[in-house]
Every structure is written in C-alpha cells, then in structure tokens.
C-alpha cells in the first residue's frame, strides 16, 4: 500500500486484526447469529479440496513444482471443492446450530481459535484482500481432541463501522481428513 503513510497502515492493520479477534471470539462463544452478521449477503464461502497430484519433473528447480496452488481443487476447477457456499448455506448452518437435534454438536463442541499472520495483501477502494492463519482446537464431548490448521484468504468490504466478509477461501492443511467434520465456521 505505497500511497498510505506508516500511521495509516498501522491503523488499518490494527482495525483488521481487531475485526478478526472479534470474529474468533464470537465463534468460540457460539454466537453464530452475531457472526453471520459479519458476512456480506453475497458472500462466497469456499473450501477447496486438497490432493496429492503427480509432481511434474519438467518443472524441477522451479517453485511452481511444489506450489500449494497445484494441490487445490477450487471453485473454478473441474474437481469438487469441499465446500462452496452462499449466505443461504451459512444461514442454514447457523439455524441448525440452535436446534436440539443438531446431534453432532449436542452437547456442543468446545472450540478455541488463534488467528494470526494477518497480512493485508491489497487495498482496492472499499475492498481489502487479507490473508490470515488459524489454529483451531476442537473438542466434542466423549471424543478425542482435534487441531485444525489452515489459511484464510478473505475479501473484506469496508462498512461504516467495521468490515464484512464478502469472500472467504479456506485452505486446510490436513493431508487426510481425520476430523469429525469440516462443516465448522472457519
């Protein structure tokens, strides 16, 4: 952001980090309805699938040979992302969470998120492109404890008082899916 002064950059960084901390707190407190208000109504919420493609020896010596991108099956691929959801899907998940027969989470799972490495990649008018990393501790009563790790690539829309998430792409780091669900709000 070359046209921003250092104090402006620091302020922006601070505001974005505060937004993510608040988001994490709402989710860990299971205030999913309040969390949903942080999502824009045209949100695209995506979790690409991640595989182990054949390494191409013609690319040897180049970073592209083992890039993360080549492991991902996202929305534009012919494969099948793990999740590609709209606001309605998220609203359905939120709705489910507050019903007695959401049996996978009744009793509710304990979660704790640490969000970090918040990096503002680009500012384009009223839209910020931000990446962040997360570690999530997940414990369902009567089951093992699980760690989820990944990266979020967000587009944030500037609003009057804060931000709204208009796009979120979640890159999961697990090689095999050995967790009870990938259907969490991440």
């Amino acid at each position: 952001m070359p046209d921003q002064t250092i104090p402006d950059q620091l302020l922006l960084q601070h505001k974005v980090e505060q937004f993510y901390y608040r988001e994490a707190r709402l989710l860990d407190n299971r205030q999913y309805q309040s969390w949903l208000a942080l999502c824009a109504e045209n949100i695209q919420y995506i979790m690409p699938a991640r595989g182990n493609p054949l390494v191409n020896n013609l690319e040897h010596g180049n970073e592209s040979m083992i890039s993360v991108e080549r492991e991902l099956e996202g929305v534009d691929s012919d494969g099948c992302p793990l999740r590609e959801e709209s606001y309605l899907h998220l609203a359905l998940r939120v709705d489910r969470s507050f019903k007695i027969n959401a049996w996978a989470e009744n009793p509710a799972a304990r979660t704790r998120r640490i969000v970090g490495n918040v990096e503002i990649i680009d500012v384009d008018g009223e839209q910020l492109s931000v990446t962040s990393n997360f570690h999530l501790f997940y414990a369902r009563p009567g089951a093992a404890n699980f760690i989820y790790a990944g990266q979020r690539r967000d587009l944030l829309k500037v609003t009057e008082e804060s931000y709204q998430i208009s796009q979120r792409e979640i890159i999961m780091d697990m090689a095999d899916v050995r967790v009870p669900t990938l259907g969490l709000f991440l």
Binding site: C80, R96, G142, V177
Partner: protein, 427 residues
C-alpha cells in the same frame, strides 16, 4: 466365537461383536473383500492412455489406470522388490511409475520395464514375472469399474442383477451417461465400515429424526406417502419415492428438492425439469416417476441419488472407515449446472456436509456402543417390518415401505453366509 452366533436365522438380531471384533474383521477380509466385486472408479476419471487414479480394495491400495492399449487395468500398488507403493499421487497421467527406493519402473498397466541395478549383476531377473500384481478380474458396467480378487466370481452383470434396473433409472436418464467430478473426498471416521453402508442401503427412516434440524417436514411426508424400500437381491438395496402420475413435473424432477431447490436457483430447476420431461421415453413410465433416495451395492458401494454422489466405505479395521465420496453429474450437462450439482452434494454430504456430520457422529457412537462389555446378551434389534416385503408387479426384487428393515436383514444374511464359508479355512 462362531459366525452363526453373530446373526440369528432371520437376521432380526445382530451381535455387537459383528461390529467390533477384530476376528470378525479378519473373516470379512477373506470372506467378503477377497471374494466380492468391489468398486474401483469410473471410466470418466481415466479417459486417456496413461491416466490413473488410486483406489482401494479393503485395505489394499490399487492403481486403476488406462494402459497403452486403451484397456483398463487394476494393479496392487506395491513394488515387487521391497513392497513400497510405486505410485504416490492420488491421480494423474504418466508413462511410468518409478519406485522411490531403487527406481524399478513399471508401466501404468503394471508390467515391470526397468531394473536399474540389472546391468551390474551377471544374470538379470525375469522381468516378465515381476510386474505389479494384477487384480485378476476387472469389469465395468455403465462406466462403473469394479475389480475382484476372486478369479472365479460370476460376471459383474449377474452380480449386480436386478440392481441394474434401479441404477439405470438414474444412469439412463442422461444420453451421455454420468461423470465423476475430480478426486473423491476421503474422510476417516472412527466407525465400522458396515454402518455407512447400511445407512445408504435403505435406512431412510432415520431422516426425520436424526436430521430434523435440516430436512423440512414436507420432504419427510413425501417419503411416508410415496416411499419404497426394495431389495433387488440380498445385500443390495434401493429406496425411492414413486410419485403419482398426476403430480407437477417439478415435484418429480430428481435431485433438487426442498432446500436444494432454494439453493440451486432457477437455471438448475429448468435443467432438471427438462431431464424429467424426456425421462419416460428414456427409462419407461414407471422409472420416470421414480425419485430416488439411497442405493447400495454389496458390499460397500452406495449411491445417493438425491444429492448425486457415489460413496465407498473402505474398512480400516473394525473401528475405522475411510469413507470416500464423489460428486457425480450428467456428463453432458452445461458447466454451470455441473457446478451447482456438485455443490448440492458437498454442502450436505461428505466431510463438510450439513447433513452427514450428524450421520458420522451416529456412526462413531454406534461403534462405541458395539464395543462395550457386559451386554453381549443384548443383540441389536433388526426386526422392524419382518416379513412385510413382497413381490411387486412393476418392480423387481422384494418391495416394502421404508420402515421395513429387510434391506439390513438381507445384507446380514448374505454377510453371515459369506463369513461362514471361510471361518473353518486355515488361512
């Protein structure tokens, strides 16, 4: 432990040990996974020479590939030298698999073509007998490729039997058939492999209860009113609604129902109605009124018509399953429709699915319940609807309402016979 003690004569009682005992699992490997036709993949995943995907037959890793002669081959992914997997990628296209350890290299069809160390010894080994072990029988039907370790197994056609009538109710709706989109989602769940299978063979009866948070009551009512559970042959199963002749077309159109309609939007609805309009001509009057739910093919393949996905339940011991699922779409559907359809699978089923998280939790809890002590005198009750299944003038197999658990009894009778056939072998 005797197999006869695990399942009673009419399979209304199933022992907890059938789910949790390591010895039972070893018998399942020999009696079922060593003998049945097992699903490997779909032809659309390997259209070109050199294309390959990984698969499993129980716990044995398989490479499914299209060879230089354009034929399909299935080989065990284990080097003849020291046993390493020679293929480490999930899928791709290659000329050779080169084993990491000493670089023996193989064609995708399994022949050993090079041993780098050969020129340093006086007498090179006979490479023609050192290829990857081939799965002895590989056959396909409607693009679905199956393999069997039993050289003498009946043909795939006869194995599927009347199940084909029901699968065709879906496949034959589409002039170009179906295609699998990308690699399967692979989900490791601490559950026994049979329960995800049982769930799809015919257990639509849990829907209104386990999934009441998400499935709307109208959808359940439609199942009460028009639902059928059919056992086309023991171990196979199909559930569907047979819609009355006079209901509006959008109500019969497969795939998008209730929430799916809402989330899919107009373009997909129009597409599905168009498919439905042509269906009577393609699959006949009866099957065009069929609005499918869950299908199961013995022992561990299932198909969820309503959300168009295929699933395989790969055992990993008695208490763990690697559950694979693919989005399947009409091969000639426009790209945007394919994307909406794959999302109608992934949003509700698979590791991120809104619905299947509830199922997976139940499957894990069932395993815990199967492994407890001091309750071996209390078998699980499988008797609902005993004897209510009947022949039907238009539908092959034995037919009943969806609450009848005959689909599960028939599966366990076949399961019991398969295990008894090998329990006295000294393997």
């Amino acid at each position: 432990m005797k197999v006869a003690d695990l399942v009673n004569a009419d399979a209304t009682l199933i022992s907890r040990r059938a789910w949790s005992d390591e010895r039972v699992y070893q018998l399942e490997k020999r009696g079922i996974f060593g003998k049945a036709w097992l699903f490997l993949g779909h032809e659309t995943q390997i259209p070109n020479t050199g294309d390959f995907v990984q698969a499993y037959m129980c716990e044995t890793p398989i490479i499914l590939a299209r060879g230089e002669d354009d034929d399909i081959y299935a080989c065990i992914n284990s080097c003849s030298h020291r046993g390493l997997p020679v293929c480490r990628a999930d899928h791709g296209n290659t000329k050779r698999f080169v084993c990491p350890y000493h670089n023996w290299s193989y064609k995708v069809s399994g022949e050993l073509v090079a041993i780098p160390q050969e020129r340093m010894v006086k007498k090179g080994p006979d490479k023609s007998v050192l290829g990857l072990k081939r799965v002895p029988r590989v056959e396909s039907w409607r693009g679905m490729i199956f393999g069997s370790f039993d050289e003498n197994i009946e043909s795939l056609d006869s194995y599927l039997g009347d199940m084909r009538f029901y699968l065709d109710a879906f496949f034959e709706r589409f002039p170009a058939g179906i295609e699998f989109m990308g690699a399967p989602h692979r989900w490791v769940i601490d559950a026994n492999w049979k329960l995800p299978m049982e769930n799809q063979l015919g257990d639509v009866n849990h829907g209104p209860y386990l999934h009441a948070a998400v499935i709307p009551p109208e959808a359940n009512q439609e199942i009460y009113d028009h639902g059928f559970s059919v056992v086309p042959g023991p171990g196979h199963g199909a559930t569907f609604r047979l819609m009355p002749e006079d209901v509006p077309i959008e109500q019969v159109a497969w795939g998008f129902e209730g929430l799916g309609t809402l989330l899919g939007g107009d373009e997909v609805q129009e597409y599905l109605c168009e498919v439905q309009r042509q269906s009577a001509e393609r699959v006949g009057a009866i099957r065009s009124r069929m609005k499918g739910l869950t299908f199961g093919v013995y022992p561990n393949l299932s198909f969820l018509w309503s959300n168009t996905s295929f699933k395989v339940s790969h055992p990993r011991g008695p208490g763990q399953v690697e559950y694979w699922s693919w989005a399947a779409v009409p091969a000639d559907a426009p790209d945007n429709i394919k994307k909406i359809l794959r999302r109608n699978y992934s949003s509700f089923f698979g590791p991120g699915g809104i619905l299947e998280q509830e199922d997976a939790e139940s499957w894990m809890q069932q395993y815990l319940g199967s492994a407890i002590d001091f309750a071996d005198d209390r078998c699980f009750y499988y008797g609902l609807g005993l004897g209510e299944e009947k022949p039907h003038p238009d539908l092959p197999g034995l037919v009943s309402g969806t609450a009848n658990e005959y689909y599960a009894r028939a599966f366990f009778q076949r399961w019991r016979d398969a295990l008894m056939a090998v329990e006295d072998d000294h393997a």
